[in-house]
């Protein structure tokens, strides 16, 4: 382990550590543009120059490995002068357009020019100008500002796995772009905006809307997939202007998907801002009291087993536990949080979790994907697999849709029979799994939502058990959930009670008239036409499918507007904080249910956030461990059965429109038009 001295401080580092990294460990700041700790080292900006004793000239610290006895000075006159020189060169062709640049205020170049810039230019020639590139609906380019750090090129190639960006031309004519005009076909493209240290790549929907110092920032959790990406919400006044990633190495590292980042304009459209009651076939505005009264009147005398509740994909655990308790108060056993109709076995927690954890993917050496398209179901899980793939020695087998996942895969088969072959050890891949050190199976939520879901689940368990996926300290059986609310709902037992009906039973019952009242808590992905004559109460934040069918609408809060707990697919409870207030008369969801319960005569026993959080912990102790994953014990689950169903297919047809928020988003509609329609041959209006 080399020992070296940096600015007079001794440090010992792992072999292979770069001088820049060692400086960081010591808290010594070294300016940089091209270096990014999650990308390969390019060492082309030269901003990180430091003085190294016995070296004839300053060295680029990002690319210089530490070695024994090095003496580094980061703040000597030589180092400072070198950086000043680099800065002067960088600014030669950089436009002086900070006042009209969206990066202003959060620009690395601006900040570092403050530290190392010269207050006037010595360069008298004309500056070069570069034509802007058209990279699609998400990324705005002002390529004259590009300083050729190549971070975006490396991000696209290494992390996103879409090698579409490059540097063409040479010398003064070098340009960063796609060469041929094309949008970046990645679900992670928004991160290019974050990696670009200057204002060359900025967010198109956010263009010219605010300065960073005008923004209020709130830390939250994304709910548009089941990854639970850690996000920061930036607001001005009460308006959500943008969503940025927060660092969490266990979950999303420092990336987020385009849907997470750009669907936030959907929070401003189609909102339910007051209660509605259906009168003469039309939804008419009403007061809270009227709405509650209408519900109470309709529920009067209806026995519990003729009442049902469904929870949607974006619900917080607080609202779900409140609704669950309310249903218990009404004596209804008919509730389900799986609006996709999945009826898998929930008796064992390990049976529905991503047990290896997302970070655990990095250990895996053989991965079997069953009925899942992680690239579109959970882009960050896919990015982890790709990260693992780039280290080498990873084999990925696919049963299900053969889509481009950005890393090479072996196609094993289309449907359940192949899974069965592996489970019974009749397939070559079984041997590969058995021989692996850390074998992994990822089962898509879509595969569990099929009528044969129970049998698929059992077969996957059999694979896990027979191929050694479950061993000391390693559980390679993973379910990739799709909905942010799902694991929370399952953990809370938002499931059919004794003799209760699940989603399919509720829909059938409503169609046949056996269910008279259906409470939809943000459940928009069901086939509302199957609700028959039932009286539908919809509580949620968007006027989407559920609200259109509703008889009474209770306006709730979207994820940015409430303090909510969400359990991600790994079983990690995380809390999002309220960033702004729901519009109009809308309220936080659990408080609505609490108020309704009083009108219905079965008052819920909690009045504060602390109390309802305690109720969560009582319902399931995992809620006491925020941000942590409590390993779930292995058990027996699923129900072996016939496995000759149709091929698996991913439940996500249009990545950009999967929920009420993204369906309301203009940006997502543009993305769908740009990226989804050409591939499927649909027009944008099919969205």
């Amino acid at each position: 382990m080399p020992k070296l001295t940096i600015d007079g401080m001794p440090i010992e580092v792992e072999p292979g550590t770069s001088v820049l990294q060692a400086c960081e460990m010591l808290g010594v700041e070294v300016p940089r543009f091209c270096y990014h700790d999650r990308l390969s080292v390019a060492a082309n900006c030269r901003m990180c120059l430091v003085e190294m004793e016995k070296a004839p000239k300053p060295v680029a610290s990002c690319a210089m490995p530490c070695s024994e006895g090095m003496v580094i000075k980061t703040n000597s006159p030589l180092a400072r002068n070198a950086r000043r020189g680099v800065m002067e060169f960088l600014l030669i062709n950089h436009p002086l357009d900070c006042p009209i640049c969206d990066q202003g205020g959060e620009c690395d170049l601006q900040d570092q020019a403050m530290a190392y810039g010269f207050d006037r230019g010595r360069y008298g020639e004309t500056k070069r100008a570069v034509k802007d590139k058209e990279l699609g609906p998400l990324i705005k380019t002002v390529m004259t500002r590009c300083i050729h750090c190549t971070r975006c090129i490396r991000f696209a190639e290494e992390i996103a796995g879409v090698p579409e960006l490059g540097a063409t031309g040479r010398g003064e004519h070098m340009e960063v772009g796609t060469y041929i005009e094309q949008a970046i076909t990645s679900e992670l493209s928004g991160n290019l905006v974050d990696v670009c240290p200057v204002g060359a790549l900025t967010s198109k929907p956010y263009a010219f809307s605010a300065r960073p110092w005008e923004l209020r920032k709130a830390e939250s959790i994304d709910v548009l997939d089941a990854v639970g990406s850690n996000i920061r919400i930036d607001l001005r006044g009460g308006e959500v202007l943008r969503v940025l990633p927060r660092l969490n190495d266990d979950v999303n590292e420092e990336w987020i998907s385009d849907k997470t980042r750009y669907a936030c304009d959907g929070l401003k459209r189609q909102r339910l801002d007051r209660p509605f009651i259906r009168r003469d076939g039309k939804l008419k505005p009403a007061s809270w009291n009227e709405a509650f009264a209408a519900i109470a009147a309709r529920l009067k005398g209806v026995p519990g087993e003729r009442i049902a509740a469904l929870a949607g994909d974006l619900c917080d655990a607080e609202a779900m536990v409140a609704l669950k308790d309310l249903m218990a108060g009404l004596g209804s056993p008919n509730l389900d949080c799986r609006q996709d109709g999945a009826a898998f076995d929930t008796s064992c927690r390990a049976g529905y979790l991503f047990n290896s954890t997302i970070a655990g993917i990095e250990k895996a050496d053989v991965i079997l994907l069953v009925g899942t398209d992680p690239r579109h179901e959970a882009p960050l899980v896919n990015a982890r697999i790709r990260k693992r793939y780039r280290r080498g020695g990873l084999q990925v087998g696919v049963i299900g849709p053969g889509v481009d996942l950005t890393y090479p895969t072996t196609y094993l088969g289309a449907g359940p029979p192949t899974l069965q072959e592996i489970a019974e050890g009749r397939h070559d891949f079984a041997a590969k799994l058995k021989a692996a050190k850390h074998p992994l199976l990822i089962l898509g939520a879509g595969a569990l939502a099929r009528p044969d879901g129970l049998a698929v689940q059992a077969a996957a368990r059999l694979v896990a058990e027979s191929c050694g996926l479950i061993r000391d300290g390693w559980n390679g059986y993973n379910v990739l959930q799709l909905a942010a609310a799902r694991v929370g709902g399952l953990d809370l037992g938002f499931l059919p009670g004794t003799d209760g009906r699940g989603t399919r039973g509720i829909l059938d019952g409503a169609g046949k008239g056996e269910i008279e009242v259906v409470f939809l808590l943000g459940a928009d992905e069901i086939d509302a036409s199957r609700l028959g004559q039932a009286f539908v109460i919809y509580q949620g934040h968007h006027g989407d499918r559920g609200a259109h069918r509703a008889d009474v609408v209770l306006p709730g809060a979207a994820y940015t507007e409430k303090n909510g707990t969400y359990v991600n697919t790994e079983g990690r409870p995380q809390q999002g904080r309220r960033a702004n207030f729901p519009p109009g008369e809308a309220r936080e969801d659990w408080t609505i249910l609490r108020a309704l319960s009083e009108v219905l005569g079965c008052k819920l026993p909690y009045d504060s956030l602390a109390q309802i959080r305690q109720r969560l912990v009582d319902a399931n102790p995992v809620f006491a461990h925020t941000d942590a994953v409590i390993a779930a014990a292995w058990g027996s689950f699923g129900q072996p059965g016939s496995l000759d169903g149709p091929p698996f297919k991913s439940p996500i047809e249009n990545f950009y429109m999967t929920d009420p928020i993204s369906r309301a988003s203009v940006t997502m509609a543009q993305c769908a038009e740009a990226f989804v329609s050409p591939a499927t041959g649909k027009t944008g209006t099919h969205g």
Binding site: K131, E157, P163, G166, G169, R170, Y179, I180
Partner: protein, 276 residues
């Protein structure tokens, strides 16, 4: 050239290697270790350029990308980095006038004017009959015989205005003027013939007998090598042949026994190779 300009030209719909070029391409790729096929991108692009009238349409770059299983953008990067790849169509005779300092001091501006006068076009343009494209080039490495131009694969050195015009006339008539110095200079030797090393000093008795023969041998070997590679048929290797020949020449240049026009000789081998 900006990428926008390159894209603006009318691009052919498709491109595919001819059967002979495909075979050559496969031979070239086979020279690289498995998994490193992408290293063959330069020779393959050259091959593609030769096949499509001395310019690289996008379809050709895409074809090479596919042939080497590399992302298209990586091929665009390479193709746009090297000025030897033309991203827009050029005339039959592609004239590159070196205007870098040594050539400029020796009168390259006259060559530029001669071309402009004779062909009625300015630098970077193509004659309406698509016969000539003239561009300015940076140092082409033959400064010793400045000023010079490169036309197609050939170097024409020691030029002046009238000489340039004569050259263009000859090309227009369909002739292939002999490349190399246009004033009869032997390779890069002084114009008036050798000025130093006029006498080879007598060998000392202690030196091994075989030593003096070794050097010319090496040179010949290099030239042979070059010729051999040329036989393999790839365009870039033609450039390799040039370099090989240069080395051979400079190896010999000090010797009084040097035969004049050895470069031209190597060139004609090259031609044979390219035409095979």
């Amino acid at each position: 050239m900006s990428s926008a300009a390159a894209i603006a030209v009318e691009q052919p719909e498709s491109f595919a290697f001819s059967p002979e070029n495909r075979a050559r391409a496969e031979r070239i790729v086979a020279k690289y270790p498995p998994g490193r096929q992408a290293s063959a991108v330069l020779p393959l692009l050259d091959l593609a350029q030769r096949q499509s009238d001395n310019w690289l349409p996008r379809a050709a770059m895409d074809h090479v990308a596919e042939f080497l299983s590399m992302p298209r953008i990586r091929v665009y990067e390479v193709a746009t980095f090297y000025t030897m790849f033309n991203k827009t169509p050029v005339g039959k005779h592609f004239v590159q006038i070196c205007t870098t300092t040594p050539c400029w001091l020796r009168g390259s501006a006259d060559l530029v004017h001669a071309c402009e006068r004779k062909l009625g076009i300015s630098m970077g343009e193509t004659t309406p009959d698509n016969q000539f494209t003239v561009i300015e080039a940076e140092c082409l490495g033959a400064c010793v015989n400045a000023p010079m131009v490169q036309i197609g694969d050939h170097y024409y050195e020691d030029l002046d205005g009238p000489g340039m015009e004569a050259l263009l006339d000859a090309l227009a008539r369909g002739e292939v003027p002999a490349p190399g110095s246009q004033i009869g200079r032997s390779t890069s030797c002084s114009v008036k013939g050798p000025t130093t090393l006029l006498h080879v000093p007598k060998r000392q008795a202690s030196e091994p007998e075989a030593a003096p023969a070794a050097e010319p041998d090496l040179a010949t070997a290099a030239a042979d090598d070059a010729a051999a590679t040329v036989d393999a048929g790839a365009g870039v290797e033609t450039a390799g042949a040039d370099i090989g020949t240069e080395t051979a020449d400079s190896g010999e240049s000090g010797s009084p026994k040097t035969k004049p026009r050895s470069r031209a000789r190597a060139k004609s081998k090259t031609d044979a190779g390219t035409a095979d």
